[in-house]
């Protein structure tokens, strides 16, 4: 692969005595949607979180190997971890809006990076809310608590909030699993739009969703990568038995 955005080599991750990620080697293409597939408990979330080192928050984690992002190994870098995290927006399985109003949810990331000018913030808040098709729904109640939004709206708010810190990468862990079909569709369409400017990594259990939007696929099983490659190749012509049976719905 030419100039992958992220290159993971020999990544091993233990929590306590449990070997959760085993010899992960993978390359993630820039400005494409990479979908991570695999049955429940195979380590998709853990792999995703190790990319912005949220796995550091676990007791007793041991990580070895390297994760190169823009030619910098984020596991050993001397740079501040918050700088690395700012490069990646995170969308979780269910929305976690910040305990503040809608406006401040978006402005938060900008404020902590020192952007405090009111006019600038107003503009940016509107821009990002428009980007996730939320502006029209909330423009008259920007000062209402984010808690008052529906789950689908909250998830779009979380996407907008992540985009507002100007990342290059979007990490999404089953971002539509708690959403209604319409909100899910909005998020999917946004992802397709956003891949022009962002590298997107999406974990999903929904095979049809993966087929719809994936450019690149990583299939995991019990902590290992079984197969990876361009979406067309993996979906049309999987090489491994495990991948085949997963696609046939033999296990989830």
């Amino acid at each position: 692969m030419e100039n992958p955005k992220i290159a993971i080599s020999d990544l091993n991750l233990f929590i306590g005595k449990q070997h959760i990620l085993k010899n992960i080697n993978a390359e993630i293409p820039s400005k494409k949607i990479t979908v991570i597939l695999g049955p429940s408990g195979c380590g998709k979330t853990t792999l995703l979180k190790s990319l912005n080192r949220l796995t550091d928050l676990n007791t007793d984690v041991k990580v070895s190997g390297s994760i190169m992002i823009d030619n910098e190994d984020i596991l050993t870098t001397k740079r501040d971890i918050t700088d690395i995290r700012k490069k990646m927006g995170l969308l979780a399985q269910r929305p976690y809006p910040l305990p503040m109003n809608i406006y401040n949810n978006i402005a938060y990331g900008l404020r902590i990076s020192g952007r405090k000018n009111k006019r600038f913030l107003d503009k940016r808040v509107e821009h990002y809310l428009r980007q996730v098709n939320l502006w029209e729904e909330v423009k008259d109640r920007l000062r209402d608590p984010a808690a008052a939004l529906s789950i689908g709206q909250q998830q779009r708010l979380c996407l907008a909030r992540g985009l507002a810190v100007d990342p290059d990468i979007i990490l999404a862990d089953e971002p539509t699993s708690a959403l209604d079909p319409i909100s899910s569709q909005t998020i999917e369409e946004k992802f397709i739009e956003l891949k022009n400017n962002y590298t997107i990594i999406l974990v999903t259990h929904i095979l049809r969703q993966a087929r719809r939007i994936a450019d690149h696929v990583i299939f995991m099983y019990l902590g290992e990568i079984i197969e990876q490659g361009p979406a067309a190749q993996i979906f049309e012509n999987p090489q491994e038995e495990k991948t085949k049976s997963y696609f046939q719905g033999m296990f989830y």
Binding site: K86, A92, Y96, M100, N101, Y108, A147
Partner: protein, 284 residues
Amino acid sequence: MNIKKIEERFFRVLMFCSTVIIATTLMLIIFSILYKGLPSVSWEMLTSTPKGGFYFGKGGGVLNAIIGSLYLSLGATFLAFLFGLPLALYMNVHLIKHQKLVNGIRFVLDLLWGVPSIVYGAFGFTIMIFFGIRASLLAGIITVTLFIIPIMVRGMDEVLKSVPRGLLESSLSLGSTQAETSYRVYLKQCIPGVITAILLSFGRAIGDAASILFTTGYTDYIPTSLNQPTATLPLAIFFQLSSPIVEVQNRAYASAVILVTIILIISILARVFSSKFHKNKINF
């Protein structure tokens, strides 16, 4: 009737009885305080310090104890908050990956919570003797602070630890530092609970007699500096109640009415204040 129904009914009756028993006991306490105390609450009681013969049922009031109690408990609550909030946040944000250590701290705080306040009083007294300080408002504030810190920290800790991991991860992935996560996200999410913890500690601080018996002393005057001994309502109640004179005894109940009213007013103010923040809390 099957077993399930019997079980269901048993627990319903049990809950009903407990509620009734607790409610009536509380009502009885409040009623007896009001019944004996209210007739003796007067303007003079609230606005003047003891005059000559006060302790034999003559004129004067407990203003010295009201002011003293407010100084003491507000001072101690403030100090405990100053140290307690950062500790509680630190345990739940910075030490998130050191759960064993955090559980150790919780265990120690729970032990300290269980230590009777008279022991804190004795400890404070020993320290005072060591440094040659006499009974004073300052010594009292420090002793009471030590006594309520475990209550305050554990109270805050209980709400902070219910913040879901996802919110922490969201905040960090936006590039927040742990301190920003603590004060801008965790604190905002937990303000109602934090205020409850402060109130709980304040209630303990203003209501406790044993920890201040040796450390704060008692005086008929309103303190003008931290180095002076200070009267407090719990001790006012204690001294007046042990008097053989009926008028003085009734004043003890009147002082109790005043104490309860102060707690009530502060609680209501704090609730009104906290409801302003309540709306931003996310219900996960």
